[in-house]
């Protein structure tokens, strides 16, 4: 039974968050993320505060008390949150930050959509650590991946960034609510063993995550810190003794809880479009148009930008002669991530088209033209770093 509604991405993000059990949303207004904040206030879980720095601190506090914590912001606010994201990673305080991208640099154009923070979110934490970055590629996924982001945060006890765009969050469209595939809520793994055996940062589970007890637990003593620490949570200068606990915070090997890329393959195709986020709508439309014209082409939609599912993306690129990567930023930031991860190494790729547009959305027609490559000058051969 369909349940059709006209909704924006803000409501869908809030819907996914509430479904997953988010009960503390600390917000500070910023275009274009304020809609999510407003939805969470209306939903009875929103707490307004004075700035983004404070917001992250409140969220860490709420998270350590056992709440499922979340906020939403855009580029300028995200930069203020950066220190808090790093602290949350170090303390192992799960929370979700929805980053609704707008055009930079600095305050940029607050109402213009963009995908310019892809590089930023991968390098926001000092020391080279990263937190997972999930990227909804449809309105439905605004709800589904937000719920999954909350689950991932809880399972791995890490901050998770939900990276999306103004056009996704402020735009509206018909959504059949009955078709939303919201993952069941997952609560963080809690310590149920004898209190005397509890150590704040020890007894790691199958994800190398220490089981959680909230502050105020009447039976165990918590020692939380953002500094390097031993298994008990005592601050310790980096040494062999604390090395394991620090290295554990690199999350690159924990891929199984993260949303996989989705491949729409045409067996006859030697052209592949790789997209993420809002641009995926244009990519899907382009694929539909091209196939209607008898042009075989495949589409890979990446939904976890960090850590990248390298094996899956590489597998999709096997046998591809021409790769098209449309992005709403001037520098091809996700292309650089793919190249940096060595996804294309030793593959027989001939042409890579980095379709970069800044300050406006990419249209399906532009992707069609890039795939067909029948306009002079629209092919860019940029294979630097691809060949071994």
């Amino acid at each position: 039974m369909p349940d059709i509604a006209l909704v924006d991405g803000s409501w869908l993000v809030a819907h996914g968050a509430l479904h997953a059990g988010v009960d503390v949303f600390v917000g500070y207004p910023i275009t274009p993320a304020s809609g999510i904040f407003t939805e969470m206030i209306k939903a009875g879980v929103g707490l307004p505060t004075t700035d983004e720095i404070t917001a992250l601190q409140y969220l860490i506090g709420a998270s350590l008390n056992g709440h499922k914590a979340m906020t939403a912001t855009s580029g300028p606010g995200f930069l203020l949150m950066a220190e808090g994201v790093g602290a949350a990673l170090a303390m192992e305080a799960p929370l979700v930050v929805a980053l609704v991208q707008r055009l930079g640099p600095a305050t940029g154009s607050a109402t213009v959509s963009a995908q310019g923070d892809v590089g930023l979110v991968g390098n926001i934490i000092s020391g080279g650590f990263r937190c997972p970055v999930l990227c909804p590629s449809s309105f439905e996924e605004c709800a589904e991946l937000t719920a999954q982001a909350v689950n991932v945060a809880e399972i791995l006890r890490v901050p998770v960034i939900l990276l999306t765009e103004k056009d996704m969050v402020i735009g509206k469209r018909t959504v059949d609510l009955a078709t939303l595939r919201l993952p069941p809520p997952v609560d963080r793994h809690t310590w149920e063993g004898p209190p005397e055996e509890f150590k704040t940062y020890d007894n790691w589970d199958e994800y190398d995550v220490p089981p959680f007890r909230p502050l105020g637990d009447p039976q165990v003593q918590l020692r939380i810190t953002a500094s390097t620490h031993d298994a008990l949570g005592n601050i310790s200068t980096y040494s062999e003794r604390v090395r394991a606990s620090a290295e554990r915070l690199f999350i690159t090997r924990r891929l199984d809880v993260l949303p996989l890329p989705v491949l729409d393959a045409d067996p006859d195709a030697d052209v592949l479009v790789i997209s993420y986020g809002f641009t995926t709508y244009a990519a899907r439309q382009a694929i539909r148009t091209l196939r209607a014209q008898g042009v075989p082409v495949s589409l890979l939609v990446v939904r976890t930008l960090y850590p990248l599912h390298v094996a899956e993306v590489r597998s999709a690129c096997a046998g591809v002669r021409k790769l098209v990567i449309p992005e709403e930023n001037a520098t091809g930031q996700f292309r650089k991530v793919l190249l940096g991860e060595g996804v294309l190494r030793n593959l027989p790729l001939e042409v890579l088209i980095s379709l970069n547009v800044m300050g406006r959305p990419i249209s399906p027609e532009e992707i069609v033209r890039a795939v067909l490559g029948n306009e002079p000058g629209d092919e860019v051969t940029d294979l630097e770093g691809v060949s071994p």
Binding site: D3, I4, L6, H15, L18, D23, V24, V26, T31, E39, G44, L47, T50, I53, Q57, Y58, I60, G61, A62, L64, N65, G66, H67, E83, A87, M91, T111, D167, G171, K172, R173, T174, L177, P214, G216, P218, Q219, Q221, R223, I224, S227, I235, Y281, A282, Q285, I353, L355, N356, V357, G359, R360, S363, P364, E366, A370, E375, P376, G377, D378, E379
Partner: protein, 478 residues
């Protein structure tokens, strides 16, 4: 809160501070007053960065060690979401942290968070080498103020006065008053503030040898108007505790109640002025289209100004699920104001048919709008004439690929005029959509009337209804 002493708050760790440091005196006093009032599991100690931030290891209770200056906000976040009301949060920071985190301190007082805050003011940044802080008294020498600190020092007890929270300023080396004020602060329900005056023995003391005795320390602070004192609470505001009450809200379902005649999809561009109902008109129209069984996607564009500047809505209607709401061509652009016209003129893309409000023909030069076929009104309703619009300009910083030529400019767009604002200028955006529906008959206008009746704001509803009625009349007379 328990009044019977529980386990000791003192851990087995050794003091990390230099000999003669006042921090040791503060920590011992704090441990004494906490153990007299609380069980160790009922206390969360939050520590800042700097020398005093190393205190957490000395405590046997829940401890959280955060970032520089953020400990008041972190402690507040913990305090306002604690699961048990009988717990106590204590936050320890130095004068450096109290400077970088000053706003967080004020916010704790503004909200009256249940929090005991202790600022150990030892006149410099000890851990990083004795630099001046915003609390360093004028004239005091530090490694970054060798000629004596300049400017007036922050006075937190005074800064917090307007919030009516209890404050105390005590000397670290006056054990009785220190213990008494710390005890009062941890016992207070709500925000309580204690500033402890110290003198860093490794830097401030050595660089200012005239201030090394307790009597001299008090004299120096008093001379700057920061004498020890106690200021009781003057406000009885309730304690702030955040109680989430999740109540998910579902959007209104739009069942299919009508039919449509659209085959394929149509891309509309509605352009007008901010604050003139462009976005709401598009949404109401979209809801009616959905009720007719159509799929809809809306994309909005507008500047940051709320009630000024342009406002544009890109509407896609389709008889099938829509992929991209982004297009390089529009089947129909509806322009309701000069700001909307300016937006369309700058917009990249091909507009197949452009209908503008008649008012735009007045006061515009031929560069904006110029008629080429004033008699070509034949098949169109009598209020509409034909005009040409200057070619929409290309814009955008990107191109298909670096070095690629821009696509050929689209052909000049046919402009027609209609009286969108004849009923009500505020309803012009909606009138434009009503006009397009009358022209194309994608679905029954009764669906639109139904959506108008659902609008909650009576003024807006009346305005929309006038636009609807105006074009209904025109239908009859055309």
């Amino acid at each position: 809160m328990t009044t019977t002493p529980a386990r000791s708050f003192t851990s087995s760790a050794r003091d990390p501070w230099c000999p003669g440091c006042g921090h040791t005196l503060v920590i011992r006093a704090l441990q004494r007053v906490l153990s007299a009032r609380f069980d160790t599991h009922d206390v969360v100690l939050v520590t800042d960065i700097g020398c005093i931030g190393m205190a957490d290891g000395l405590f046997h209770c829940h401890t959280v060690h955060g970032l520089h200056g953020r400990s008041p906000a972190l402690a507040a976040g913990i305090a306002m979401t604690l699961p048990r009301p009988d717990m106590k949060v204590v936050v320890l920071l130095g004068d450096g942290g109290a400077a970088i985190g000053l706003q967080h301190i004020l916010e704790c007082a503004r909200l009256n968070v249940d929090l005991c805050m202790v600022v150990c003011n030892n006149q410099n940044y000890g851990m990083t080498g004795g630099q001046q802080s915003a609390y360093t008294l004028p004239g005091v020498r530090t490694t970054t103020s060798p000629g004596g600190a300049v400017g007036t020092a922050y006075d937190l007890c005074k800064l917090l006065e307007s919030f009516g929270v209890p404050r105390a300023r005590v000397l670290a080396n006056q054990r009785d008053s220190l213990t008494e004020q710390l005890d009062a602060a941890v016992a207070h329900e709500g925000f309580a503030f204690v500033e402890v005056l110290e003198w860093c023995p490794s830097y401030a003391g050595k660089l200012n040898p005239e201030t090394i005795t307790p009597a001299e320390l008090e004299r120096v602070f008093t001379a700057q108007g920061q004498s020890p004192g106690v200021w009781p609470a003057t406000s009885t505001r309730p304690v702030f505790h955040f109680e989430p009450k999740p109540r998910p809200r579902l959007p209104q379902s739009i069942p299919t109640t009508g039919a449509h005649t659209l085959e394929g999809e149509v891309h509309l561009l509605l352009a007008g002025s901010a604050g003139k109902g462009v976005q709401s008109a598009a949404e109401i129209f979209a809801r009616a289209a959905i009720a007719a069984g159509l799929h809809v996607a809306l994309r909005s564009e507008y500047p940051v100004t709320v009630g000024r500047g342009f406002s544009a809505s890109h509407l896609v209607l389709a008889d099938h699920p829509i992929e991209s709401p982004v297009s390089s061509s529009w089947d129909l652009a509806l322009v309701c104001s000069s700001e909307g016209l300016a937006y369309v003129r700058e917009h990249r893309g091909d507009i197949r048919r452009l209908v503008a409000d008649r008012g735009l023909a007045h006061g515009h030069s031929e560069q904006d709008l110029y008629p080429v076929d004033p008699t070509g009104v034949g098949a169109l309703p009598h209020r509409i004439s034909r005009m040409w619009l200057a070619t929409p300009t290309q814009h955008g910083w990107g191109s298909v690929a670096p070095g690629a030529p821009e696509p050929d400019p689209p052909p000049p767009t046919l402009v027609e005029l209609a009286d969108f604002d004849r009923a009500d200028p505020k309803g012009a955006a909606f009138a434009a959509l009503v006009w397009s529906l009358r022209q194309h008959g994608w679905f029954d206008r009764e669906l639109l009337a139904t959506e108008v009746q659902r609008v909650a704001n009576p003024k807006q509803r009346e305005s929309l209804q006038r636009a609807l009625d105006a074009w209904a009349l025109d239908t009859e007379t055309a």
